[in-house]
Protein backbone atom coordinates (compact mmCIF):
# COMPACT_ATOMS: atom_id res chain seq x y z
CA UNK A 1 0.00 0.00 0.00
CA UNK A 2 1.32 3.45 0.79
CA UNK A 3 4.36 1.91 2.41
CA UNK A 4 5.23 -0.03 -0.73
CA UNK A 5 5.05 3.10 -2.80
CA UNK A 6 7.35 5.01 -0.49
CA UNK A 7 9.88 2.20 -0.48
CA UNK A 8 9.95 2.12 -4.27
CA UNK A 9 10.03 5.88 -4.57
CA UNK A 10 12.79 6.08 -2.01
CA UNK A 11 15.06 3.57 -3.70
CA UNK A 12 14.53 4.92 -7.22
CA UNK A 13 17.64 7.06 -7.12
CA UNK A 14 19.23 6.19 -3.85
CA UNK A 15 22.61 4.73 -4.96
CA UNK A 16 24.14 8.21 -5.21
CA UNK A 17 23.76 8.57 -1.47
CA UNK A 18 24.89 5.18 -0.35
CA UNK A 19 27.82 5.47 2.03
CA UNK A 20 27.93 9.25 1.83
CA UNK A 21 26.87 9.94 5.40
CA UNK A 22 28.24 13.39 6.11
CA UNK A 23 28.90 12.92 9.79
CA UNK A 24 30.51 9.56 9.26
CA UNK A 25 28.00 8.02 11.67
CA UNK A 26 25.77 5.09 11.02
CA UNK A 27 22.39 6.67 11.80
CA UNK A 28 20.05 6.30 8.85
CA UNK A 29 18.73 9.74 8.18
CA UNK A 30 16.47 8.70 5.35
CA UNK A 31 16.00 10.08 1.93
CA UNK A 32 13.62 12.61 0.45
CA UNK A 33 11.27 9.78 -0.56
CA UNK A 34 11.12 8.53 3.02
CA UNK A 35 10.52 11.92 4.59
CA UNK A 36 7.80 12.81 2.07
CA UNK A 37 6.13 9.54 3.07
CA UNK A 38 6.48 10.31 6.79
CA UNK A 39 4.92 13.75 6.22
CA UNK A 40 2.11 12.13 4.22
CA UNK A 41 1.30 9.86 7.20
CA UNK A 42 1.50 12.60 9.80
CA UNK A 43 -0.70 15.00 7.81
CA UNK A 44 -3.17 12.20 7.07
CA UNK A 45 -3.53 11.16 10.72
CA UNK A 46 -3.90 14.79 11.84
CA UNK A 47 -6.61 15.37 9.25
CA UNK A 48 -8.42 12.21 10.35
CA UNK A 49 -8.67 13.46 13.94
CA UNK A 50 -9.77 16.89 12.80
CA UNK A 51 -12.51 15.33 10.65
CA UNK A 52 -13.82 13.48 13.71
CA UNK A 53 -14.12 16.72 15.69
CA UNK A 54 -15.45 18.66 12.71
CA UNK A 55 -18.37 16.28 12.05
CA UNK A 56 -19.30 16.47 15.74
CA UNK A 57 -19.25 20.29 15.79
CA UNK A 58 -21.25 20.51 12.56
CA UNK A 59 -23.81 18.08 14.00
CA UNK A 60 -24.74 20.84 16.46
CA UNK A 61 -26.82 22.46 13.67
CA UNK A 62 -29.26 19.66 14.51
CA UNK A 63 -29.41 20.80 18.17
CA UNK A 64 -29.99 24.54 17.91
CA UNK A 65 -28.69 27.60 16.02
CA UNK A 66 -27.25 28.89 19.29
CA UNK A 67 -25.33 25.75 20.15
CA UNK A 68 -23.78 25.79 16.68
CA UNK A 69 -22.92 29.49 16.66
CA UNK A 70 -21.30 29.35 20.10
CA UNK A 71 -19.11 26.42 19.10
CA UNK A 72 -18.18 27.89 15.72
CA UNK A 73 -17.04 31.05 17.56
CA UNK A 74 -14.10 28.94 18.79
CA UNK A 75 -12.90 28.63 15.20
CA UNK A 76 -12.68 32.44 15.03
CA UNK A 77 -10.34 32.63 18.02
CA UNK A 78 -6.85 33.87 16.93
CA UNK A 79 -4.99 30.76 18.13
CA UNK A 80 -7.49 28.37 16.53
CA UNK A 81 -7.43 30.51 13.39
CA UNK A 82 -3.67 29.95 13.22
CA UNK A 83 -4.22 26.21 13.65
CA UNK A 84 -6.64 26.35 10.69
CA UNK A 85 -3.78 27.64 8.55
CA UNK A 86 -1.82 24.62 9.74
CA UNK A 87 -4.72 22.33 8.87
CA UNK A 88 -5.07 23.79 5.37
CA UNK A 89 -1.30 23.45 4.91
CA UNK A 90 -1.39 19.82 6.06
CA UNK A 91 -4.35 18.91 3.82
CA UNK A 92 -2.81 20.71 0.84
CA UNK A 93 0.49 18.84 1.30
CA UNK A 94 -1.39 15.53 1.63
CA UNK A 95 -3.38 16.29 -1.56
CA UNK A 96 -0.36 17.34 -3.64
CA UNK A 97 1.82 14.49 -2.41
CA UNK A 98 -1.09 12.12 -3.06
CA UNK A 99 -1.02 13.16 -6.70
CA UNK A 100 2.72 12.53 -6.69
CA UNK A 101 2.16 9.04 -5.23
CA UNK A 102 -0.44 8.31 -7.94
CA UNK A 103 1.99 9.44 -10.64
CA UNK A 104 4.75 7.26 -9.15
CA UNK A 105 2.33 4.31 -9.21
CA UNK A 106 0.72 4.75 -12.62
CA UNK A 107 3.04 6.88 -14.78
CA UNK A 108 5.89 4.94 -16.33
CA UNK A 109 8.35 7.79 -15.72
CA UNK A 110 6.96 8.51 -12.24
CA UNK A 111 9.53 6.65 -10.13
CA UNK A 112 12.39 8.20 -12.08
CA UNK A 113 11.19 11.76 -11.54
CA UNK A 114 9.74 11.36 -8.03
CA UNK A 115 12.39 13.67 -6.56
CA UNK A 116 11.71 16.42 -9.10
CA UNK A 117 7.97 15.99 -8.52
CA UNK A 118 8.53 16.58 -4.81
CA UNK A 119 10.10 19.96 -5.51
CA UNK A 120 7.28 20.80 -7.92
CA UNK A 121 4.66 20.16 -5.24
CA UNK A 122 6.75 22.09 -2.69
CA UNK A 123 6.67 25.15 -4.97
CA UNK A 124 2.91 24.78 -5.64
CA UNK A 125 2.35 24.45 -1.88
CA UNK A 126 4.18 27.73 -1.22
CA UNK A 127 2.42 29.53 -4.08
CA UNK A 128 -0.98 28.57 -2.63
CA UNK A 129 -0.16 28.90 1.07
CA UNK A 130 1.33 32.41 0.98
CA UNK A 131 -1.82 34.15 -0.32
CA UNK A 132 -4.00 31.55 1.44
CA UNK A 133 -2.48 32.29 4.87
CA UNK A 134 -2.81 35.99 4.14
CA UNK A 135 -6.56 35.78 3.51
CA UNK A 136 -7.13 33.39 6.42
CA UNK A 137 -5.34 35.59 8.95
CA UNK A 138 -6.10 39.05 7.56
CA UNK A 139 -9.09 39.78 9.77
CA UNK A 140 -7.62 38.20 12.91
CA UNK A 141 -4.44 40.27 12.59
CA UNK A 142 -6.20 43.58 11.89
CA UNK A 143 -8.49 43.01 14.88
CA UNK A 144 -5.54 42.19 17.11
CA UNK A 145 -3.68 45.37 16.25
CA UNK A 146 -6.83 47.36 16.93
CA UNK A 147 -8.25 48.14 13.50
CA UNK A 148 -11.64 47.06 12.20
Amino acid sequence: MASTTAAEAGTADVPARAGSSRSGGTLYRGDLGMWSWVAHRVTGVLTFFFLFVHVLDTALVRVSPNAYDETIALYKNPLVNLMEVGLVGAVLYHALNGVRVILVDFWSKGPKVQRAMFWVIAVIWLLVMIPGAYFMLERTVTEMIGGH
Binding site: F48, A59, P65
Partner: protein
Protein backbone atom coordinates in the same frame (compact mmCIF):
# COMPACT_ATOMS: atom_id res chain seq x y z
CA UNK B 1 2.99 -8.05 1.21
CA UNK B 2 2.13 -11.62 0.30
CA UNK B 3 5.69 -12.91 0.32
CA UNK B 4 6.17 -15.77 2.71
CA UNK B 5 9.50 -17.40 3.35
CA UNK B 6 9.48 -20.68 1.49
CA UNK B 7 11.93 -22.72 3.45
CA UNK B 8 10.59 -26.12 2.42
CA UNK B 9 13.52 -28.10 1.05
CA UNK B 10 11.52 -30.16 -1.41
CA UNK B 11 11.02 -28.70 -4.88
CA UNK B 12 7.75 -28.97 -6.73
CA UNK B 13 7.85 -30.69 -10.07
CA UNK B 14 8.58 -28.22 -12.88
CA UNK B 15 5.49 -26.71 -14.48
CA UNK B 16 3.25 -28.08 -11.75
CA UNK B 17 0.35 -25.83 -10.71
CA UNK B 18 1.37 -22.91 -8.54
CA UNK B 19 1.28 -23.08 -4.79
CA UNK B 20 -1.98 -21.65 -3.47
CA UNK B 21 -1.39 -17.96 -2.69
CA UNK B 22 -1.46 -16.94 0.94
CA UNK B 23 -3.94 -14.23 0.00
CA UNK B 24 -7.33 -15.58 -0.93
CA UNK B 25 -9.04 -12.39 -2.03
CA UNK B 26 -8.33 -9.01 -3.55
CA UNK B 27 -9.47 -6.83 -0.64
CA UNK B 28 -6.07 -5.16 -0.27
CA UNK B 29 -5.92 -4.44 -4.00
CA UNK B 30 -9.33 -2.78 -3.90
CA UNK B 31 -8.37 -0.83 -0.77
CA UNK B 32 -5.22 0.39 -2.55
CA UNK B 33 -7.23 1.39 -5.62
CA UNK B 34 -9.90 3.05 -3.49
CA UNK B 35 -7.26 5.28 -1.87
CA UNK B 36 -6.21 6.57 -5.29
CA UNK B 37 -9.73 7.05 -6.69
CA UNK B 38 -11.22 8.60 -3.55
CA UNK B 39 -8.07 10.72 -3.24
CA UNK B 40 -8.69 12.23 -6.68
CA UNK B 41 -12.32 12.99 -5.83
CA UNK B 42 -11.35 14.45 -2.45
CA UNK B 43 -8.80 16.66 -4.19
CA UNK B 44 -11.73 18.62 -5.66
CA UNK B 45 -14.22 18.16 -2.79
CA UNK B 46 -11.92 18.98 0.13
CA UNK B 47 -9.77 21.68 -1.47
CA UNK B 48 -12.96 23.34 -2.77
CA UNK B 49 -14.50 23.11 0.71
CA UNK B 50 -11.41 24.58 2.39
CA UNK B 51 -11.21 27.37 -0.17
CA UNK B 52 -14.87 28.37 0.25
CA UNK B 53 -14.98 28.01 4.04
CA UNK B 54 -11.58 29.40 5.05
CA UNK B 55 -10.35 31.74 2.35
CA UNK B 56 -13.16 33.11 0.17
CA UNK B 57 -15.12 36.19 1.18
CA UNK B 58 -14.03 36.60 4.82
CA UNK B 59 -13.38 32.89 5.44
CA UNK B 60 -14.33 31.39 8.79
CA UNK B 61 -15.59 34.70 10.20
CA UNK B 62 -18.78 34.59 8.15
CA UNK B 63 -19.74 31.05 9.13
CA UNK B 64 -22.75 30.63 11.40
CA UNK B 65 -26.04 28.75 11.49
CA UNK B 66 -27.66 30.98 8.84
CA UNK B 67 -24.69 30.42 6.52
CA UNK B 68 -25.03 26.63 6.85
CA UNK B 69 -28.81 26.84 6.35
CA UNK B 70 -28.26 28.85 3.16
CA UNK B 71 -25.83 26.32 1.75
CA UNK B 72 -27.88 23.25 2.61
CA UNK B 73 -30.96 24.73 0.95
CA UNK B 74 -29.22 23.65 -2.25
CA UNK B 75 -29.19 19.95 -3.19
CA UNK B 76 -25.85 20.55 -4.93
CA UNK B 77 -24.03 21.45 -1.71
CA UNK B 78 -25.92 18.75 0.23
CA UNK B 79 -24.62 16.18 -2.22
CA UNK B 80 -21.14 17.75 -2.18
CA UNK B 81 -20.97 17.51 1.62
CA UNK B 82 -22.42 14.00 1.73
CA UNK B 83 -19.94 12.71 -0.85
CA UNK B 84 -17.09 14.46 0.94
CA UNK B 85 -18.15 13.01 4.30
CA UNK B 86 -18.29 9.41 3.07
CA UNK B 87 -15.16 9.51 0.93
CA UNK B 88 -13.05 11.41 3.50
CA UNK B 89 -14.08 9.18 6.40
CA UNK B 90 -13.51 5.94 4.45
CA UNK B 91 -10.22 7.25 3.01
CA UNK B 92 -9.09 8.25 6.48
CA UNK B 93 -10.26 5.00 8.05
CA UNK B 94 -8.32 2.95 5.51
CA UNK B 95 -5.26 5.13 6.08
CA UNK B 96 -5.44 4.63 9.83
CA UNK B 97 -6.00 0.91 9.35
CA UNK B 98 -2.67 0.82 7.49
CA UNK B 99 -0.98 2.84 10.24
CA UNK B 100 -2.36 0.50 12.94
CA UNK B 101 -1.22 -2.55 10.97
CA UNK B 102 2.25 -1.03 10.69
CA UNK B 103 2.83 -0.03 14.30
CA UNK B 104 0.67 -2.19 16.61
CA UNK B 105 2.91 -4.99 17.83
CA UNK B 106 0.53 -7.22 19.73
CA UNK B 107 -2.42 -8.92 18.05
CA UNK B 108 -4.73 -7.78 20.84
CA UNK B 109 -3.61 -4.15 20.52
CA UNK B 110 -4.11 -4.27 16.78
CA UNK B 111 -7.55 -5.82 17.16
CA UNK B 112 -8.84 -3.30 19.70
CA UNK B 113 -7.40 -0.28 17.92
CA UNK B 114 -9.16 -1.40 14.75
CA UNK B 115 -12.43 -1.98 16.59
CA UNK B 116 -12.15 1.56 17.96
CA UNK B 117 -11.40 2.85 14.45
CA UNK B 118 -14.35 1.02 12.87
CA UNK B 119 -16.70 2.18 15.63
CA UNK B 120 -15.62 5.79 15.14
CA UNK B 121 -16.01 5.44 11.37
CA UNK B 122 -19.56 4.09 11.59
CA UNK B 123 -20.46 6.77 14.13
CA UNK B 124 -19.11 9.64 12.01
CA UNK B 125 -20.59 8.45 8.71
CA UNK B 126 -23.99 7.75 10.31
CA UNK B 127 -24.14 10.97 12.34
CA UNK B 128 -22.94 13.13 9.45
CA UNK B 129 -25.40 11.59 6.98
CA UNK B 130 -28.23 11.90 9.50
CA UNK B 131 -27.46 15.61 9.99
CA UNK B 132 -27.32 16.34 6.25
CA UNK B 133 -30.55 14.46 5.51
CA UNK B 134 -32.59 15.78 8.44
CA UNK B 135 -31.29 19.35 8.63
CA UNK B 136 -34.02 21.94 9.05
CA UNK B 137 -33.52 25.72 9.13
CA UNK B 138 -36.36 25.93 11.68
CA UNK B 139 -34.71 23.79 14.34
CA UNK B 140 -35.14 25.06 17.89
CA UNK B 141 -37.61 27.78 17.01
Amino acid sequence: MTATVDSAPELAAPRSPRRRPARRNNVELYAWLFMRLSGLALLVLVLGHLFIMNILDGGVHRINFAFVAGRWSSPFWQFWDLAMLWLAQLHGANGLRTVINDYARKDATRFWLKMLLYTATVLIVALGSFVIFTFSPDVGS
